[in-house]
């Protein structure tokens, strides 16, 4: 190799400068990312440290006592299970149907665009406006009163976009060629969906449903006036009863009740966030597992 060609490979001054600048930017953006994430991680760590002081099996499975300044969170925990279950019973069938329509039937026209716009807005309407709607529609107009039913319907409508978007995405991930092969054999649209499309997207739909459970668990404003109560001396017996709820319980013990020991609301917050993050993690892990398991 001659000296001339050697020099081609040497770092020019410009190259060195570019490298420095690039390294600088890289570090800058990494710092920004860390600055965004670190405080939240510190905050979560604080929650864990302070909350774990009150955390125990008893805390989860006993009633609050002494005007909610002591005892456990069982009625709130159970109430959240009620609210989420009833909400899912409504939103999953409706959301899956909507997604099937949008992915498998809807023509590309203004009406379909209108539906998509409605979904985006349903997700964007403030939660307190959903609460007002729940009060106006379910509590008053349909006469359900403040009840699990009214609260769950409000939650169902609010989280409907989560199911629709996740389901639609997993339906659309099934290649079109599979559908055409089925149609060519004389299968109806529905037979095609049932035999080939749904079996290959059901896990993606499940991922979306878990995500919705997590969203529904954490929502507070929509249940405040529609069915969740600050405190109830009894457990709900049917969907027409009111209930306590984890999310509202955190609000209540941290703002509405005097003389609460400092650790108690931390414990409630820890349980709530634990429920939400565990479900999200399951959903994410499930999604990654599926990504690694190709069927075509």
């Amino acid at each position: 190799m001659t000296e001339d060609t050697m020099s081609l490979f040497e770092e020019t001054a410009l190259n060195a400068k570019n490298k420095r600048v690039q390294g600088l930017y890289r570090t800058l953006f990494m710092l920004m990312t860390l600055l965004l994430i670190t405080p939240v991680v510190i905050i979560l760590a604080t929650l864990v440290v302070k909350g774990s002081a009150v955390l125990s099996i008893d805390f989860l499975f006993t009633d609050p006592t002494d005007g909610m300044t002591a005892g456990g969170i069982f009625p709130a925990l159970l109430g959240t299970v009620w609210l989420v279950t009833v909400a899912l019973l409504v939103s999953v069938p409706l959301g899956v149907a909507a997604a099937i329509y949008l992915s498998e039937y809807a023509p590309d026209n203004w009406f379909t665009r209108l539906i998509n716009l409605a979904i985006i807005n349903l997700a964007g309407v403030p939660s307190i406006v959903h609460a007002l709607f729940g009060v106006g529609a379910f509590v008053i107009f349909f006469g359900f009163g403040t009840s699990i039913l009214a609260a769950s319907l409000t939650l169902a409508i609010m989280t409907l976009p989560v199911v629709i978007v996740a389901t639609r995405e997993s339906l659309q991930a099934v290649p079109q060629a599979f559908r055409e092969a089925c149609w060519n054999m004389g299968a109806t649209r529905w037979q095609t969906i049932r035999k080939v499309v749904l079996p290959n997207s059901i896990s993606g739909i499940l991922t979306g449903v878990i995500l919705e459970v997590s969203r529904t668990t954490g929502e507070t404003a929509p249940v405040m006036f529609t069915g969740a109560a600050f405190f109830l001396p009894f457990l709900p017996q049917s969907v027409f009863d009111q209930t306590m709820a984890m999310s509202l319980h955190l609000f209540v013990v941290s703002t509405q009740v005097p003389h609460v020991p400092e650790a108690l609301p931390y414990g409630v917050a820890l349980v709530l966030i634990g429920m939400v993050l565990i479900m999200n993690s399951i959903s994410i892990a499930f999604r990654m597992y599926l990504r690694g398991k190709k069927k075509w």
Binding site: P107, D108, A177, F178, R179, E180, A181, C182, W183, N184, M185, G186, A187, T188, Q191, K195, V196, P199, N200, K295, W296
Partner: protein
């Protein structure tokens, strides 16, 4: 209507498919225009021609796949068993009687067994023993049985390309179709297998009507009773296959194509 010679062998056969003045366009762009032809029962009707001749569109218009493509527009008359397919009460029943094999192999993400059992199941066959018989017969005819008989439970979508293509043929046969339409089926299959399938097609001719779209002119010559030549959205010529290949043509373009001057 274009006058067309009918060979002595199939002359007596009733008309299975009658197409007149067929026009197909996508978003206003014409893909095929003014096609009129007849396909008779138990004949193999070949269609040859280069890419973009409108061959695939032609097949899609027969089994009404335009229904799933809002951009595709079909005008003219297509009669299957004398019945206008654009005026049916149940299009799905029509499709269940027409088997189709498209060039790109599609193994459905079901087991090999379920791939072939799907169409009979849709028709209401529930008996396991009966399904077993159908599955084995169709896979055997598609020259795939020996390779997959020990792994009928593996996913059809994970077979090799050539195997998936034969699975597609087996699936079409599982419909027990009256009309079988093959669109360049040999693209993903090796020559030996192609020969085996061609032999099967010669047998199947006794049971059903076959439309064979192919880009291999010699394949048409080996199999087809009559052959149509499509070019750039036009049906240039229809005739006895042997006649076309021995130079008895009305259009110079047919001779050029058959003799390999373009394509």
């Amino acid at each position: 209507m274009v006058s067309q010679a009918v060979s002595a062998a199939v002359e007596q056969h009733p008309v299975k498919l009658e197409v007149s003045n067929l026009e197909i366009s996508y978003d206003g762009q014409p893909a095929l225009s003014n096609v009129s032809l007849e396909v008779r029962e138990n004949e193999i009707f070949g269609i040859i021609g280069p890419a973009n001749a409108g061959k695939t569109s032609f097949l899609k218009s027969i089994n009404r796949m335009d229904m799933f493509n809002p951009n595709m527009n079909v005008a003219g008359d297509v009669r299957f068993n004398g019945r206008d397919v654009y005026n049916l009460r149940n299009v799905y029943a029509l499709r269940s009687r027409i088997g189709v094999v498209f060039p790109l192999p599609v193994g459905l993400p079901l087991t090999v067994y379920e791939n072939v059992a799907l169409a009979p199941r849709l028709k209401g066959v529930k008996d396991k023993a009966e399904l077993d018989v159908i599955v084995e017969r169709c896979l055997a005819r598609a020259a795939l049985w020996d390779e997959v008989k020990d792994r009928l439970d593996s996913l059809g979508s994970l077979l090799s390309g050539g195997q998936q293509q034969r699975l597609t043929i087996a699936r079409a046969l599982s419909q027990d179709p009256e009309l079988l339409m093959l669109d360049e089926f040999s693209i993903a299959v090796d020559p030996v297998t192609t020969m085996r399938i061609e032999d099967v097609l010669k047998d199947l001719k006794n049971e059903m009507t076959i439309i064979l779209v192919t880009n291999l002119v010699q394949q048409a010559r080996r199999l087809a009773d009559r052959t149509a030549f499509f070019l750039e959205g036009e049906c240039v010529e229809i005739g006895e296959t042997e006649a076309l290949f021995t130079g008895e043509v009305k259009d110079q373009r047919t001779r050029d194509y058959v003799e390999g001057r373009f394509g």
